[in-house]
Structures are given as structure tokens and as C-alpha cells.
Point group: C2
Chain length 306, copies 2
């Protein structure tokens, strides 16, 4: 089973109340890949510039992520993002964005990626997402993420893209913005009526909720003493979620989707414990399973906690 | 087992996107009493004016709530609150507050209330809460609610009151404001270190989280197509929670506390389905149990939904 992710690969400069880095590996596709790599084979598709080197590839390769479709644009610079977080870690304050080679990104998938079983369209312009999806010929499922910018400026295109995918990852505000519905239940049903069979509402520190045709499931975020850097939490969540789901025979099974929610919660919780990809880069499957069981204990109605 | 609640009894004028009432029974002690009444004997302590009549008493009596300690202040007017909600139902926009007899409320508990097993101090000035607690002689447990106003203007008194109680109900923002801690886990531990053995973080549409010495448990709000009137949801939650807990032999048992969280979630969800007390006033225990099981299905990691 292979999972292809198409999206940004970046250098991030991030400052939070608990630490700072002037330049570290980041980007939606990076965070997604690393978390998904614990459960399935991952291929990452995205553009990088001349500043992207062996150290960065090594992080991806150490987790077994296939980078054959990482496109090196000669003479270009990798997407760069500078931001800081204040005490309210729910809000990133962007100081600088340099799209670099990501600005002209026209994904061209190799045959190996086109024929992969599973696809995740990280947050990029929805026309581009649809173009990628058309290139893929045999996906069991495709998921997407998006953002308020595209709901604002390319809503019709985004809706077209959503019609073609199976799983949608958006935060609460984006789901309400897309549908104009105050009730998440009604809003999620409205998006499912476009085509997808599952909607995952990302809720930051409150965790995430899963809406399917017959089901509702919600998990809190794993409680941490310290969130060091929330950057990439949503992509890390989607990576753990879809990576696990790609490994399942019946991905539409409600129990499989609920376990996927839990694995996404686990990988996101590790992702935010340190800056950038630092924690997930040295994460182990044993640590993942341990936290999975802790979450089970924290959400079981009748049982004592672990 | 008896549960005494001390707090406001009010008339509310509320307008939401889904309905409006010019004058309906409200107040923290009212919402709490009605929800708690499904699980234990309830005595309500609070002041009312000449405008409070048989119709209002009938709502409380129909649920078996004992009103012997409702203090009728001759010549006074009952606490009145006028507010509206826009599409963001998380925020009440207050248009008018007339404290009336509640402004000079000095609770004097009858012997029956003083000797009750359980006490809930709804949101009132913390000196008054402490005075009430001192009047009670044999409580198994006492809980309290408070608000940002008292954290701002009477923090030391509130901390003194918290030191004496067993369960604290506050929303996330209040917990952070009280402790100055961004992490809810660290903040809850800091409040527990003052004395209480359980902290319930109310999270509005995201449900609630329970912190105990060894445990963490969280539940989403029950997903509704329409929230008609969120007024009183927090008090209705606390009522279902503490009412159930009062009926348990070992109220500190983690499983009992988790079931209390679930019953609180259930009563709050019914409370917001219609304006004011209208839905809870005709609620049945059977409906409560049905929704309890639905929530169990929605939060069980490995099982199919009901």
C-alpha cells in the first residue's frame, strides 16, 4: 500500500514562547509524510530549490519516505515561512512568506505516484489539487486539506475538487465558512452531499471530530504540559490518520476510521512537543502505540484510566 | 441524598436566530435544579421578587424541586437579564441586567438545607459562596462555578472559596485567567493543588474535560442540528453532573465521575434544544438514558456507532 502526498516542502523560521529556530525543515507535505510513514509506504511530491540539501533529504529518508518525485528547480529557492506564536498558541503570526519555487508549482507525478493506492492533496490551490487527482489512476481513496484563502478566492474550484475526493480535512471555521452553516453536523452533511464520505473537523486544542454518513466520533487533543510548536499539527494529524487508514483492508469501516482519528491525534501530539519535525523524526512505533492506549484510557466511559 | 444549589433565579428575555421570549424562567440555580432533579433530591436557594409567581414555582415543583428556601423579598423584583445571540452562539450579547433582589442576596439556609449531603455554589460573589459553605455542616461534596468578573475583582476571595470545595466548574478561559497557565493540564493541576479533587473545564460547543489527580477524560458536546438557546447550558451541565454524582456511593470513583460527565453532557444538550427551561421541563429519564447510550456509541474507539 502506498500513500502519495502532494504539497509544500518548506523551510520554517519559527519562534514560540518555548523555543525558536531560524531555519528548519517544514511544509505540509513534510509533516504529513513523516507521520504517515509509521503506517504505510509514503511518496512525497513537491518542489524544492537549490537551498534544499542532503540534511533535509536525510530527515525524510530516515523515515523511509520516497523522495523520487521531489522536484528540484535549479536556480530556485525553497518555500520559506517565518512566523511566531504568542501565549495563545492557536494563532500563528506570519512575519514573512516567500513562495519561491512553490509559487509556480505544477505537479508532474511519476508513473509510480500516479498508480499509488492513496492520495492526499495537502493545502494548495484547488485547480492544482484537481489536476493532481486527475493524474492518479487507481486510488482507493483521496483526501484533501484546504484553507480560508481558497474558500474566499476559489470557492467554485474548491467545491469541484471536494466533489472528487473521499475525505475532507478542514478546521471548524473553514467548514462553517464553506457552507454558511452554524451547526457542524449540518455543515458536515452538506459537504458529504457533495461527494466525500467522511469529514474531519480539526479543532486545534480541542482535538478533532469525524462525521460519516451514519456516525459521529470526536477525540480531544492529547493533554500535554507544554505545546512547544503547533506548526504542522494539522498535517501531522492527517498523516497519522491517512497513513493508518491506507494500511486497512476496509478503509470505510467505522472502527477503522475511529482508530485513524486516534493515530492522527497521537502523531499530532508528538509533532507539537518540539520544534518543527524534531520530535517526529525520532519517534518510534512503540511510543505511538503507548500513547494510543493512553488515549483509549482517557476516552473510555466506564473504565479507569491507564 | 439531597443536593442544595445556591444561586440566581431569574427572568430572562432572550433572542436567538431560532426564537425569542420576552420573559421566561431562567437563572443558574433554576437550570441547575431542573437538570439535577432527574438524579437526586434537589433544594434550591435563591431570592425572588413580587413578580415571581405560581407559574414559575410550578416549573420547579413539577420536577420535584424543593423551593422552601426560595426567599421571597416583598416589594422587590426578580433578577432580570436581557440578551441576544447572533450566529456565533458561543457569545451572549447582554442588553440589560437588573439585579433586583439578587443584588442584596444574603443566603440564609434552613436547617434542612444546612444538613444536606451535597452543595453546589452557582456563580455568585465568592464571599457569599464561602458564607453559604460555612452554613453547611455535613456535605459529602461541594462544587462551585464562578466567572471572569470575580477572577478580576475578587481573586483572593475566590481562591479561598475554591480551597474549601471538592469540584470546580469553570470554562477554559476562566481556568487560564485564574492560573495564568496556557496548558489546561498544568492549570488544572494548579487549581487541584489548592484543594479540589476534580476540575471540570467547560468548553462550550467542544464539550467538557475532567481533570482528576490521576485522570483525564473529555467528551464532545452532543452533536445537534440546531442549538436554539445556549443560555444555562453550563448550569444544566453541572446539574446533570452533580445530580448524578450525588446518587453514587463513591463520588470520587473515576468511573462515576466519567458517567457524571456524560449525564452533564446529556442534560446540557437537551437544555439548548429549546428556549430557556422549556425542553428540560418536559424531559424524561428515558430520553436521558437514550442519549447517554448514544454518546457512549459516539465515543467508543473500537465499536460501531449505535
Amino acid at each position: 500500500m502506498t500513500l502519495v502526498v502532494v504539497g509544500s516542502i518548506a523551510f520554517d523560521a519559527v519562534r514560540t514562547p518555548f523555543g525558536a529556530r531560524e531555519r528548519m525543515l517544514g511544509g505540509a507535505a513534510t509533516h504529513f509524510s513523516l507521520s504517515a510513514s509509521f503506517f504505510t509506504d509514503v511518496r512525497v511530491v513537491g518542489p524544492v530549490g537549490d537551498d534544499f540539501g542532503d540534511d533535509e533529504y536525510a530527515v525524510l529518508h530516515s523515515r523511509g519516505v520516497n523522495t523520487d518525485d521531489v522536484e528540484h528547480v535549479a536556480g530556485g529557492q525553497t518555500f520559506f515561512w517565518r512566523a511566531h506564536y504568542d501565549n495563545d498558541m492557536n494563532t500563528a503570526h506570519t512575519e514573512d512568506t516567500r513562495l519561491g519555487v512553490f509559487g509556480d508549482f505544477e505537479p508532474k507525478l511519476s508513473e509510480a505516484s500516479r498508480s499509488a493506492d492513496h492520495l492526499f492533496l495537502a493545502n494548495i490551490q484547488p485547480d492544482v489539487q484537481r489536476d493532481v487527482h486527475r493524474q492518479c489512476t487507481g486510488t482507493r481513496f483521496a483526501g484533501l486539506d484546504s484553507m480560508n484563502l481558497w474558500i474566499d478566492t476559489a470557492r467554485d474550484s474548491l467545491v469541484e475538487t471536494i466533489k472528487g475526493v473521499d475525505l475532507v480535512f478542514l478546521n471548524d471555521a473553514e467548514i462553517r465558512m464553506l457552507t454558511g452553516q452554524p451547526s457542524m453536523l449540518v455543515a458536515a452533511r452538506e459537504i458529504m452531499a457533495m461527494g466525500p464520505s467522511a469529514i474531519v473537523a480539526k479543532q486545534g486544542e480541542y482535538g478533532a471530530a469525524l462525521f460519516t454518513e451514519d456516525g459521529f466520533f470526536a477525540l480531544p487533543a492529547y493533554p500535554l504540559e507544554k505545546v512547544v510548536d503547533p506548526t504542522g499539527a494539522g498535517d501531522s494529524f492527517a498523516g497519522g490518520f491517512l497513513g493508518f487508514l491506507a494500511s486497512q483492508d476496509d478503509w470505510q469501516d467505522e472502527a477503522a476510521l475511529r482508530r485513524a482519528m486516534t493515530y492522527g491525534t497521537v502523531t499530532a501530539s508528538f509533532n507539537v512537543e518540539e520544534l518543527g519535525t524534531e520530535r517526529v523524526a525520532r519517534l518510534t512505533r512503540e511510543e505511538i502505540e503507548e500513547r494510543f492506549e493512553a488515549i483509549r484510557g482517557m476516552t473510555t466511559l466506564d473504565a479507569m484510566p491507564a
